[in-house]
Amino acid sequence: MQAIAALPSPTDAPPGGHDGVSDGDLLRRIADGDTAAFEILYRRYARPVFGLALRLLRDRSRAEDAVQETFAAIWRSAGSYRPERGPGAPWLYAVARNAIVDRARARREQTFAEAPDEPTAAPGPAERAESAYVSWRVHRAVEGLPDHERELVELAYWSGLSQSEIAEFLDIPLGTVKTRTRSALAHLADVLEDDLR
């Protein structure tokens, strides 16, 4: 039960917040120079972009730089987003990935002379990119869940708590924890259908 003390309150807003404004609307406002919209988008996406950068670059300092470059690119390029071509999240992923790949490329050029000759068992760039994309999609899908389901998924999978500890922490019956978990997984399965094939 030690982890409970370190957890946020169940009523805390999740990272990024659920303010009801779509990514596309934020991008349109950013294109018009709206710094408040830029801040909202940053709150919403800084952690996913950082996670993506860490997975692809495996270097915290470079990942930090990539996050900053990504958001600078978003600021400059928001006017290029076309809502009729789809929602904002895939567009943001493409911008983030380009910024991160640019940084990875710069690193490869710097360290080319030191490249190992022997193949390693570590995942290659393509596998890391695939895994990073799936992770991005999973986290976006979790963000889209109703609050009571999202909170439960975060606690069940990423907090270190058992189901009984979650029930105690949220002050709800264990059966409700199980019902909500099942319902959350079903919702996620609907959203992530393409990734499940």
């Binding site: 800084a46 952690r47 930090e64 290029s80 799936v134 975060e154 079903a186």
Partner: protein
Amino acid sequence: MTRDFDELVDDVEGEERERLRRVHDLLVAAGPLPELTQKLEHPSAPPTADIVFFPKRRHAAAAVAAAAIAAAAFGGGYLVGHSGGGDEFAAQGVVSLQSTVNAPETARASIELGERDAAGNFQMAVTVAGLPKLKRRFSYYRLWLKKGERATLPCGDFVVEGPEKRTTVRFTVSYKVDPGDRWIVAYQPPGEHEEPGRILLST
């Protein structure tokens, strides 16, 4: 951490159970998002269209020197297009544009702003590098001044020789430039004159 699917979901059978198990596997593989580091806790101020103003009554050569100082101070990115010819252009300030996701990474532009005349007109010298030569007839690049949601105003059109060459063009406009305004350079396909086309550079 709960990683035991059977503990989480113990009352679903058949295909649905397998579907939920695959989601479970994805959640476990995705892992938690990293906490932001101190450096990333707050967003960096977005790049602005701030004009770097020069001391008054400078001639072109002095403006070039001032721009170079500004470039050093602001981390580079300014292009200054004066060739040293006799055509005097007293720049009052300079603003830089960077490439968007639609343009080559190396594409850049700088706009040097001249002094406003008594009637309210002012000249601008726009120096562009890194944009490709356009192949479609009647297509061109256009500089726009974007004033929030209120208006997007054309400043002038140009073409370039190719990405390796710098191109400098002069425009005269009468617009008032307000804080928060942005300049953009867009590709205008044939027949598209009223709205910005694909945005390639932006402040």
